[in-house]
């Protein structure tokens, strides 16, 4: 496959031929955060991805990146990042730009927080994967700088200067799913990026969320979720809106399932994660079949899952030539990727194609996590006018194996984990 990257962003392209392969790795339960801060003012336009220069962020070797979901800036969200040059997971990386997708017109100011990265420590070697991590495998570094938290209060944009200090947290492999259900009727047009009001999701303290990938609605994908007011990971959160990217013209109806959130439990700060009883929720599943849109109502049972620490990367390689226009989201066919039953996927952060980034995977009639599936196309957001050629790498996905159980089991898993972690938190050091 061919890797197309920027030697100098927007000016000189580099090309590499590399062997396409699936790579297994082990992921550690410790996660660090890195805050992304705009380095200069930028006027942004709703729905048009903007490449923002950010303060350089150094990322240690043997790490992969993901976004800390929940919109971190009042006027948009970071959908990917760009590194200086091109690096392997095993190498140190320098992140220089954020790809910012605005949900409204406005100005990102120098010093604004535009996103937060999660840095996962991984091991790729066969022996390393087997024997796991030791404490010395982690390099925890944090620059503490003043930056603006940008949020809205009663519709008014506010900037609050804070001093960033994000160390990181221990994550459990325990999670639950929460459906993202529209509470309004909305007409959408292909390419629209808009907030949609959703059935409130109350998140317990010590939880982080991330959208479950593989598009769950025929009209588009949930890119991000929005909370009523800013809060810390260790606090309770109320999610009441989703940022939805429409991939075709249509109508979103009240009660439609827009997407699904993964909710992970973490150990951080005052450590008291808890779960609350959950009930079945009704939603309409919107899917396409033979060129027609169908809606099918269903009761969604609450489910929990436990993720395995061994995962793999799968490269997404285009099988078609395509002309791209900046900001016009495209469906691109890729070499089929077979996903076994009980797997979930996340695109790997850091833009892997010079002209844009993979936002989501597409399955015309999405199957349950518990079922096998084959991915044949992806949702690609161009950041530049340009082209994709057959055989080019578009992105990489992380494929995780999970153990799915009814929600009641979560309580048992979580209690065991909380007890162990509490002993660590309250106990002495070694």
């Amino acid at each position: 496959m061919e890797v197309v990257y920027w030697k100098e962003i927007g000016k000189e392209l580099g090309r590499l031929q590399v062997k396409k392969e699936s790579v297994k790795y082990r992921i550690a339960p410790f996660v660090q955060w890195k805050v992304l801060i705009a380095e200069q003012n930028a006027e942004v336009k709703k729905g048009m991805p903007a490449m923002l220069k950010i303060r350089d962020v150094e990322i240690p070797e043997n790490t992969i990146l993901a976004p800390l979901s929940i919109m971190r800036h009042a006027i948009g969200t970071t959908i990917d990042v760009i590194e200086k040059g091109i690096s392997r997971v095993e190498q140190e990386k320098r992140i220089t730009h954020a790809i910012f997708l605005p949900v409204e017109d406005g100005v990102v100011e120098k010093g604004d927080i535009v996103g937060v990265l999660k840095v996962f420590f991984v091991k790729t070697g066969v022996i390393d994967r087997r024997f796991g991590f030791s404490p010395s495998d982690f390099k925890i570094r944090e620059d503490m700088v003043t930056a603006n938290l940008v949020y809205k209060e009663n519709g008014v944009l506010k900037r609050k200067t804070i001093k960033t200090r994000f160390f990181g947290y221990f994550k459990s492999y325990i999670a639950e799913w929460e459906p993202v259900i529209s509470t309004e009727n909305v007409d959408v047009k292909k390419g629209d990026v808009r907030r949609i009001r959703i059935k409130e999701i109350r998140l317990q303290p010590n939880t982080v969320v991330t959208p479950l990938h593989i598009m769950r609605n025929a009209f588009g994908s949930v890119i991000e979720v929005v909370q009523a007011r800013p809060s810390k990971v260790e606090e309770e959160k109320l999610i009441d809106e989703a940022v939805f990217l429409a991939t075709k013209d249509g109508k979103i109806q009240k009660g439609d399932l827009l997407g699904v959130l993964n909710i992970y439990y973490t150990a951080i700060g005052k450590f008291e994660p808890k779960m609350t009883p959950k009930e079945e929720k009704f939603a309409r599943f919107v899917y396409e079949k033979s060129g027609r849109i169908f809606r099918s109502g269903m009761l969604l049972k609450p489910f929990a899952y436990r993720r395995k620490p061994i995962s793999r990367w799968e490269p997404l390689v285009s099988t078609e030539d395509l002309t791209l226009k900046k900001g016009e989201v495209a469906e691109v066919e890729v070499e089929p990727i077979k996903l076994e039953e009980n797997t979930i996927v996340y695109p790997l952060y850091i833009m892997r194609h010079a002209y844009g980034t993979v936002l989501d995977l597409i399955e015309k009639e999405p199957a349950k996590v518990e079922n096998q599936k084959t991915i044949k196309s992806v949702l690609f957001m161009p950041l530049f006018d340009g082209e994709i050629r057959k055989g080019q790498l578009l992105g990489v996905i992380n494929v995780y194996n999970v153990e799915v159980e009814p929600y009641e089991v979560l309580s048992k898993w979580l209690n065991e984990w909380v007890e162990e972690m509490r002993r660590v938190f309250e106990g002495g050091s070694k």
């Binding site: 550690a28 339960p29 410790f30 150094e58 024997f131 796991g132 991590f133 030791s134 404490p135 010395s136 982690f138 390099k139 925890i140 570094r141 944090e142 620059d143 503490m144 700088v145 001093k163 200090r165 160390f167 990181g168 221990f170 492999y173 150990a267 395995k308 620490p309 162990e420 972690m421 660590v424 938190f425 106990g427 002495g428 050091s429 070694k430």
Partner: protein, 236 residues
């Protein structure tokens, strides 16, 4: 003044004019072989969470007094982190609050190094001057002193008879430099031919609060002074 603190505990830096601080929280963590996923998580949590908690507590305390610009938590390979922070932060001073390797990069730089041993007090300074000393930086610190003893050390050359002329020149140069400092700071002075080991006795007899060493004495000599004295050592 920008300061990098290499430590695993709180330090009293009142005697320094510190404004910005970067902390390298260095603490060896117990390693063990992982036998299961659960074992791996517990092992990591047990070894890391208490250390991170202590680092956070330290930062919170420091933030009340200084502008904390960043922090690293390192469990091993201290040298790499010291060198990286030296490049990234370009500090005026590195304070070693616990055992810290003296890296070649640190020694070749112009950054002052303080080996912390309790309070930082400059009332009685023993300054060890040597060939190639950074006198201007040394003077900045000597200004803080109330009583100063300047020791010029000339390493003996072997065999003495073959280097008599050079030896004499080195001694005279040292005497001149010490004399200049002596006049400027109204200090006591002594020029010795001998090894750095003599500093231990001199420091004790002078009852020094701090020993200031010219980095020109070299890494081994700095380590020897650290081994043989109980007061703070500042390398300029």
């Amino acid at each position: 003044m920008k300061c990098v603190v290499f430590t695993n505990k709180e330090l009293d830096l009142e005697g320094l004019d510190v404004k910005d601080i970067y902390v390298i929280f260095a603490k060896g963590a117990k390693e063990s072989i992982t036998l299961s996923d659960r074992g791996e998580m517990l092992n990591l949590a047990l070894s890391k969470i208490p250390i991170i908690k202590r680092a956070e507590e330290l930062i919170e305390k420091l933030e009340k007094k200084y502008n904390v610009v960043g922090m690293s938590v390192v469990f091993e390979d201290y040298e790499t982190e010291i060198n990286r922070v030296l490049d990234a932060q370009k500090p005026d001073i590195v304070v070693a609050g616990r055992y810290m390797p003296i890296t070649d990069k640190l020694l070749k730089s112009k950054t002052t190094i303080l080996f912390y041993r309790g309070k930082v007090v400059f009332d009685r300074i023993l300054y060890v001057h040597s060939e190639g000393a950074n006198a201007e930086v040394a003077k900045q610190w000597l200004k803080k002193g109330k009583e100063i003893l300047i020791v010029g050390i000339v390493e003996p050359m072997m065999p003495p008879e073959a280097h008599a002329k050079r030896m004499k020149e080195a001694q005279e140069k040292m005497k001149r430099e010490v004399e200049e400092l002596y006049k400027e700071f109204n200090a006591s002075k002594v020029v010795l031919v001998g090894s750095i080991g003599k500093v231990k006795r001199i420091a004790r007899e002078f009852d020094a609060d701090i020993v200031i060493l010219s980095r020109g004495v070299g890494k081994e000599a700095i380590e020897a002074v650290l081994e043989n004295t109980e007061v703070g050592v500042l390398v300029v």
